[in-house]
Symmetry: C2
Subunit: 132 residues, 2 copies
């Protein structure tokens, strides 16, 4: 151990883990919103659009478990629960932002590539039309 390289295989596994968190449909949205500061549950729910209560809860639990957000419960009536990015969570906004920018910058190109590909496939699957 104590090698200079932090072990390729281990990083691969970790990468898979991270991507499972990042890739799970809602985590990025949550982190994106929380980037602006503390928010409470129902705020997030309204802000994100399309997320079910269940999935928001699960997403937040996972992020909390990974040490990316902190969850603060206030013993009030009605209850209030606030979520904030941890320091580590903040460091994730960098890489996520890079991905976000890439998406914004290339979405048209991707859409166009898909259209071309799909048209080619449609054409290839109906060779009977070759002389219609």
């Amino acid at each position: 151990m104590a090698n200079v390289e932090p072990d390729e295989a281990a990083v691969c596994t970790a990468m898979g883990d991270i991507l499972n968190r990042i890739g799970d449909k809602w985590s990025v949205m949550v982190v994106g919103r929380l980037k602006g500061g503390t928010m409470r549950f129902s705020e997030l729910r309204r802000a994100i659009d399309g997320v079910s209560q269940r999935m928001l809860t699960l997403t937040l639990r996972n992020l909390e478990r990974d040490g990316l957000v902190t969850r603060t419960v206030y013993a009030e009536i009605p209850p209030r629960v606030e979520y904030t990015l941890t320091e580590m969570g903040c460091t994730l906004t960098g890489p996520i932002g890079a991905l976000w920018d890439w998406a914004a910058e290339h979405q048209d190109q991707v859409a166009q590539a898909r259209a071309v590909y799909d048209r080619a496939q449609a054409g290839a699957e109906e060779p009977e039309r070759r002389r219609a």
Copy 2:
């Protein structure tokens, strides 16, 4: 239209698309390997470890459809098929690299956070042990 901001909602949708591609367990590995240059199907299969033939095929098809890799078939016996990153595919390696580095840098911290969280949960679920 023609707003200065490229439409928040559209970018959100695009982001979801991108993440579905990036997040799907194998795409990142493939792009990571292809970063080093052209590779053929069986090379990728061996290099990636754990990927089934089916999933590698599907992953490559999706990447090709999105215009991120090119697929070149050589009419030989036995057949040979090579995959290369497109120019757009290369631009993705930047953001992906950032994520990769983050994972490498924070994997220990995440693992530790998980251990702490899980231990706390285990303790909270067995209050009967409070006086054993």
